[in-house]
């Protein structure tokens, strides 16, 4: 991760990152063997920033983030290495008690499936109140309840007094995700992790939730880590993007540059697979092949079997490319031996 550190130093005397992840590796136990879910990744996030982590299912995006908060099952996930500096402490070195104080207070999470993420036998008001009271011993039941009502109205849940007394099954999917966001922002966290916040929702609701997330960010002024495979959502919300493939970061760039000129063939393929208005083709473009098994990774670049750029070159087959600056002095990082060749290709050249 020296590359990342150097890049950071080049930025000069900038502000300290809010959260700084270094050299994180996580394996998961499975029936087939140890899955190398996250392999030596590192990233920073700064106050007020929206950082998107993009990748297909199984690329390690959720695992990398849930590990930081100790939310992975201990009998499944093994943290092989890593540091995660947050407010002068290493999250990966904290005891359960200290970590619990961070969870839901300094860092909170919005989960993917609002249907399953609320306890079905407790009212929404109870569940939001709990998030408040667990971090504030002085908060009375009544005070936490009225704050819950305020929070619900902030995220645009109509009739919040009544809604607080209702159970999750009485909410629609979109309303439930709003309530989830309200619960996550209850303690004004400095960092909000949104794990596929719109995946389980239909398109019109997705747009509403994006608006709510924007509003939340304005309200709390905190940073957001947005985990998603939806590039539309990335374009809407993110400032900076990390692209993950097979447990590694393959590209890191500002959102505008990433969409304008991707510097990794995987990112390029992802962008090409987006359906476009005016496209005459009847078929959806997809990336041929599938992600390699993370139990037995291929030699060389993990993407080379599916890569349109590799042309079966020896370098791609034998050497795993490091994440490095695309041009010297650039903040853009890419893990491709031939990232410069992408300049010559037109992204819309189909």
């Amino acid at each position: 991760m020296n590359e990342m550190a150097e890049a950071r130093e080049k930025r000069g005397a900038e502000r300290e990152p809010l959260l700084s992840v270094r050299d994180l590796s996580v394996s998961l136990r499975s029936d087939e063997g140890l899955v190398q879910a996250v392999r030596n990744i590192g990233w920073d996030i700064y106050d007020g920033e929206v950082l998107a982590i993009v990748g297909e299912s199984g690329s390690g995006k959720s695992v990398s983030v849930n590990t930081l908060l100790g939310l992975m099952r201990q009998d499944v996930a093994i943290v092989n290495s890593g540091h995660a500096e947050f407010g002068g402490r290493d999250l990966l070195n904290l005891g359960e008690r200290e970590l619990r104080e961070v969870r839901g207070k300094d860092i909170s999470v919005i989960f993917q499936d609002p249907m399953a993420s609320f306890n079905p036998v407790k009212t929404i008001g109870d569940q939001i109140s709990e998030a408040i009271r667990v971090h504030d011993e002085r908060a009375t039941r009544r005070w936490a309840w009225s704050r819950s009502i305020t929070l619900l109205s902030m995220v645009g849940v109509p009739n919040p007094e009544l809604r607080c007394k209702q159970y999750p099954h009485q909410y629609s999917g979109g309303m439930r995700q709003r309530a989830m966001i309200a619960m996550a922002m209850a303690n004004r966290p400095r960092l909000l992790i949104a794990d596929e916040p719109t995946t389980a929702l239909d398109m019109t609701i997705q747009a509403q939730i994006i608006d709510v997330l924007r509003l939340v960010q304005k309200e709390t002024g905190g940073a957001i880590v947005l985990i998603t495979h939806d590039l539309g959502l990335v374009a809407e919300l993110a400032d900076r993007v990390l692209v993950m493939y097979a447990g590694k970061i393959v590209e890191s760039a500002g959102v505008v540059e990433l969409f304008a000129s991707p510097r990794h063939p995987y990112t390029r393929a992802l962008l090409e697979s987006l359906p476009r208005i005016g496209d005459q083709s009847d078929e959806l473009r997809s990336i041929s092949g599938q992600m390699p098994s993370l139990v037995e990774l291929p030699e060389g670049c993990a993407f080379h079997p599916r890569c349109s750029l590799s042309h079966d070159r020896q370098l791609c087959r034998e050497l795993e490319p490091p994440l490095q600056e695309t041009n010297s002095g650039s903040e853009r990082l890419s893990a491709c031996h031939f990232s410069r060749e992408l300049d010559e290709l037109d992204i819309f050249d189909r």
């Binding site: 619990r100 993420s117 036998v121 099954h169």
Partner: protein, 320 residues
């Protein structure tokens, strides 16, 4: 919620009526002649067939079976469960005086079994595949497998006769005219424990199963992500969800509890319905048997109702 309870009650009525009919028919099919059973051997040796017929018609046993059944239902609806053949007292009175001791024993045993079973099952699930998990599985399996009469006799032999810690039976010390509450508890512990041991097994297994499923749910991760301590997550969020399927298991187990009562009350000379059942079967006291079968059916139906209502109280999605 109230309309839910009302609906469940209405559904219970035909069930009760059906059980009433079936149990009456079964009892009619029992071997043995109640008239002869009522007479002492000397009386029986000297009695003329006419005298026996006369006794039979006095008891209404010569009437067609449907008439006997209809007459019985009519009486039951008025709270009259008939007269005992053997004791010439109203069956309702006999049952009424026995129901209290049985309720005390049953509720104590059920509470012990539930508390221990749910706790064991919960921790077995939390420590899945640990030595504790295996130990609790093996123990609860053994607890189910040992017949309760054997367990009862062993308990009496070890704790009452050899060690002398607990009394061998009864509800209170007979010599004491006004026994203390402590004395009653002292008598209650052994039979209640023996009865509970037979019930614990399924509670442990179902709680474990249910808890294993629940703690993998997303809302458990949500609660942890809020910073709630793990034990509070387990008991505050997990347990209530895990108990919902357990209510059905408890209801299904009620017949096992009732037969357990029959054996345990007999062994421990507990003056309850179970021992009355045993005595009545031995004496072919038909009205008492039919009444007890009916009461048991009422209990089973009531407990099922209670289980449904409890499930609805635990789970807002059922209250529709």
């Amino acid at each position: 919620m109230l309309s839910y309870v009302g609906r469940r009650l209405l559904i219970s009525v035909p069930v009760l009526f059906g059980i009433l009919g079936i149990s009456f028919i079964f009892v009619q099919m029992l071997p043995g002649d109640p008239v002869r059973a009522l007479m002492s051997p000397e009386e029986l040796a000297t009695a003329s067939p006419e005298y026996i017929e006369q006794r039979r018609s006095e008891l209404g046993l010569d009437k067609p079976i449907f008439v006997q059944f209809a007459a019985w239902i009519g009486e039951v609806l008025q709270g009259n469960l008939g007269h005992s053949f053997r004791r010439n007292t109203p069956v309702a009175d006999m049952i009424f005086e026995r129901i209290g001791p049985t309720a005390i024993l049953a509720i104590t045993a059920l509470s012990i079994a539930l508390i221990i079973g749910v706790l064991l099952g919960t921790f077995a699930a939390l420590k899945q595949n640990s030595w504790f998990d295996y130990l609790s599985s093996v123990t609860s399996m053994m607890a189910v497998s040992i017949p309760n009469f054997f367990l009862g006799l062993m308990a009496i032999y070890i704790f009452s006769i050899s060690l002398g810690i607990f009394p061998t039976g009864g509800m209170r010390t007979l010599a004491a005219s006004n026994p203390s509450a402590l004395d009653r508890v002292h008598h209650l512990i052994l039979p209640a424990l023996v009865l509970a041991i037979n019930l614990i097994g399924p509670y442990v297994r179902y709680t474990r199963q249910s808890m294993l499923e629940v703690i993998r749910q997303d809302y458990i991760t949500t609660a942890r992500a809020k910073g709630v301590p793990w034990m509070k997550v387990v008991f505050g969020h997990g347990l209530r969800n895990a108990l919902i399927p357990l209510t059905t298991v408890i209801a299904i187990q009620v017949p096992i509890l009732l037969t357990g009562l029959l054996v345990i009350e007999t062994i421990f000379s507990w003056p309850g319905l179970g021992r009355l059942t045993f005595e009545s079967i031995m004496g072919r006291d038909y009205p008492v048997i039919v009444a007890i079968v009916f009461i048991s059916a009422v209990f089973v139906v009531l407990f099922n109702l209670l289980a449904d209502v409890t499930a609805a109280a635990l789970d807002p999605r059922i209250r529709l």
